[in-house]
């Protein structure tokens, strides 16, 4: 059911639902950007409309709402392991279409790749989604190419229009909330992007053989293996375990998992001292093929949602979409051999 909602009513909706949900939305952290006097747009818990960044696509994805960068799994003593208290509230996520598609990838990784992840699952079943419409394409995104520009699996959509908001409520309770407050009914279709400036084409016959192409060599030197591309990515899910000891004897402590990056040193280190993919170009190849080939072979659809965040965050101006668009010639190169 579609409604035209005033700012005041939407603020009331936020305040009301903040009681039972952590409401995660893009938020402008003023002055917290990489460089001085620049901002960082990241997901934060909000309770008011003014706290929501409605224009700029967030620099970091929503994934931290479901899988924090650092998450304590349990505390241990010699006798027992104790889980931290489960989240009290559910979560409402304000997502753009690319990120809503990314949520499906997170679900498939955390719930369906091997046994379901306990920590992800227990919050995930209490998640609701508000789709933020995209009236215009962002500069670096290629959602149309990845087929992630349109979403329908939302509980509510939200589009700012001339001082008001248009919402499409699929959630009956939320629809009732707006109806009860006299919001005018009208048909609403969330805004979506129909064309991006950036377009990518993944070759139909892309295969692991492309690993031998010369394409990857340039990244040996260009890439500085900082991992920003992974940390901003809404579909990167890797993590590393850390045991933190509170005492000398290592009997008391906590185990946590923190985000890991396949670009950063140490990702593949095994206990005996060996490691794989030492060159940055090999790491780039691993990442690109994970997003555009391996995952699809396993799950039947591409992992990358084309949000373009990795392009925007790379300090070395390495373009992921640019790389993908070279895969075709890279395949021809290895097939020619």
């Amino acid at each position: 059911m579609g409604y035209r909602v005033s700012r005041e009513t939407l603020d009331l909706w936020l305040a009301t639902h903040a009681a039972d949900y952590e409401i995660w939305a893009p938020h402008r952290f003023v002055g917290e950007g990489c460089f001085s006097d620049t901002d960082s747009v990241r997901y934060a818990r909000v309770t008011k409309l003014e706290e929501i960044e409605l224009k700029e696509r967030s620099h970091y994805s929503f994934k931290e709402a479901l899988t924090p960068a650092s998450q304590t799994l349990f505390y241990f003593t010699q006798e027992a392991c104790t889980e931290p208290e489960p989240p009290v509230k559910g979560a409402i996520l304000l997502l753009r279409s690319c990120d809503l598609h990314a949520l499906r990838r997170l679900d498939d990784m955390y719930l369906h790749n091997g046994p379901a992840d306990y920590y992800y699952a227990r919050l995930r079943e209490r998640v609701k989604v508000v789709l933020l419409g995209c009236a215009a394409s962002c500069e670096s995104g290629f959602c149309v190419s990845m087929g992630t520009n349109v979403s329908e699996n939302y509980d509510m959509s939200l589009d700012p229009v001339a001082g008001d908001f248009l919402v499409d409520c699929k959630d009956a309770d939320w629809a009732a909330f707006f109806a009860a407050r006299g919001c005018g009914e009208e048909p609403v279709t969330p805004a979506h992007v129909e064309e991006n400036a950036v377009k990518v084409t993944v070759p139909e016959k892309l295969s692991p053989a492309v690993a031998k192409a010369s394409l990857w060599n340039q990244y040996d030197k260009r890439c500085i293996n900082c991992g920003r591309c992974n940390f901003v990515c809404p579909t990167c899910t890797c993590f590393t375990m850390q045991d933190l000891y509170y005492d000398e004897n290592a009997r008391l402590g906590e185990r946590r998992r923190v985000w890991a990056s396949c670009m950063v040193d140490g990702f593949t280190d095994v206990a005996g001292g060996g490691s794989y993919r030492k060159k940055n170009g090999e790491r780039m190849r691993f990442k690109v093929l994970h997003k555009m080939l391996d995952y699809k072979q396993r799950k039947g659809y591409q992992m990358c949602v084309g949000c373009g965040r990795c392009d925007d965050v790379c300090p070395e101006y390495i373009s992921f979409s640019g790389c993908v668009n070279h895969l075709d010639e890279a395949m021809k190169e290895v097939q020619g051999k």
């Binding site: 952290f29 002055g31 917290e32 990489c34 460089f35 001085s36 006097d37 960082s40 990241r42 970091y60 924090p68 960068a69 650092s70 900082c226 991992g227 920003r228 940390f231 590393t240 850390q242 933190l244 000891y245 923190v258 985000w259 890991a260 990056s261 950063v264």
Partner: protein, 320 residues
């Protein structure tokens, strides 16, 4: 030919080698100006000068080859620049006032440079507002970060941008990028303890390299901007020397006050026989002792609690 050279110099013109020819000295506080002023300079140089411009060491332009007779016309022509750069001017169309206190210079700062910790030109202009015009020989420079591209340690007051890194452990992914960057690009003030960087606050110089290199915004900049204030560096014939650290983690307000206080101190103690009424502050401090200088400089200065004042102050340098 009759010319009051003292008056000429106070109007920011130089007495040159060529008899009857002067050079107009156009200060650009903070070294950054709108491009629209360049045609004005071009016109002055071509109409009144010899068609050339010198880019000065202190971020100004010097237009040589001007006839004494054209000084007033040049001043009038400079008016749009003087207004545009918000120079403190005593009389309209009378050109740049004073030439004792030197142009406040600035590196390109955070308007452009990723390392800059603040808007250096902005601060330079605020200092300009506070101290100009003035006959006393003061040199002030602003640099965005401890790389000190503006070479502020060669100035009486060197202002180096700092940020106090803020750490959010919940965003840290233990990648050690900050540790490596601090070790290789800065002073090695970070160490890894229990999977997280720990900052040695004493060692930290506030350069912000950790913030720049953090891939997940675990390190961010302090809301408050801080500075390192260095003191009494100078070039010159007798005893050139580097400015020494005076206060670390000092704020802008305190810096402005310290500079203004120093004007009072210099007025009190300057050698009455100093040539041209100009004496490097350092020589005055050598004479009065540092304690007396500090008594004046820190008068009514309310330093922020995090400020660290270096003591004792001692300058080296070459003595001839």
């Amino acid at each position: 030919m009759d010319m009051n050279t003292a008056k000429l110099k106070k109007n920011a013109f130089r007495v040159t080698k060529v008899r009857g020819k002067t050079a107009s000295r156009v200060r650009v506080p903070g070294g950054h100006l709108e491009a629209k002023y360049l045609p004005v300079l071009q016109e002055i140089a071509e109409k009144y000068g010899n068609g050339t411009l010198h880019i000065t060491n202190r971020q100004g332009f010097e237009i040589p080859g001007i006839d004494f007779a054209d000084v007033d016309k040049v001043n009038a022509a400079l008016q749009s620049i003087i207004e545009g750069l918000e120079i403190n001017q005593e009389e309209e169309d009378a050109g740049y006032p004073a030439s004792g206190t030197r142009n406040v210079i600035a590196c390109i700062g955070n308007r452009v440079c990723p390392f800059g910790c603040y808007d250096t030109t902005g601060l330079a202009k605020r200092i300009e507002k506070a101290i100009f015009p003035n006959d006393l020989h003061f040199k002030v420079a602003c640099t965005g970060c401890p790389n000190d591209c503006a070479k502020v340690r060669m100035h009486d007051f060197g202002i180096m941008g700092m940020t106090e890194p803020q750490f959010d452990p919940n965003r840290c992914v233990s990648c050690e990028a900050c540790i490596k960057a601090c070790r290789t690009r800065s002073v090695g003030a970070l160490s890894m303890q229990n999977f997280r960087p720990v900052r040695d606050a004493k060692k930290c110089i506030g350069c912000g390299v950790c913030v720049i290199n953090c891939p997940d915004r675990a390190w961010t900049r302090s809301k408050k901007k801080y500075y390192r204030l260095t003191l009494l560096g100078r070039t010159g014939k007798k005893n050139p020397r580097m400015g020494e650290d005076f206060i670390k983690w000092v704020d802008e307000e305190s810096i402005l006050k310290i500079i203004l206080n120093t004007y009072d101190y210099v007025k009190e103690y300057i050698d009455p026989n100093a040539p041209g009424g100009k004496e490097h502050i350092g020589y005055i401090v050598d004479r009065t002792g540092v304690e007396e200088f500090l008594r004046w400089a820190l008068k009514d200065v309310d330093l922020p609690p995090e400020a660290e004042v270096y003591t004792p102050l001692y300058w080296k340098g070459v003595k001839y």
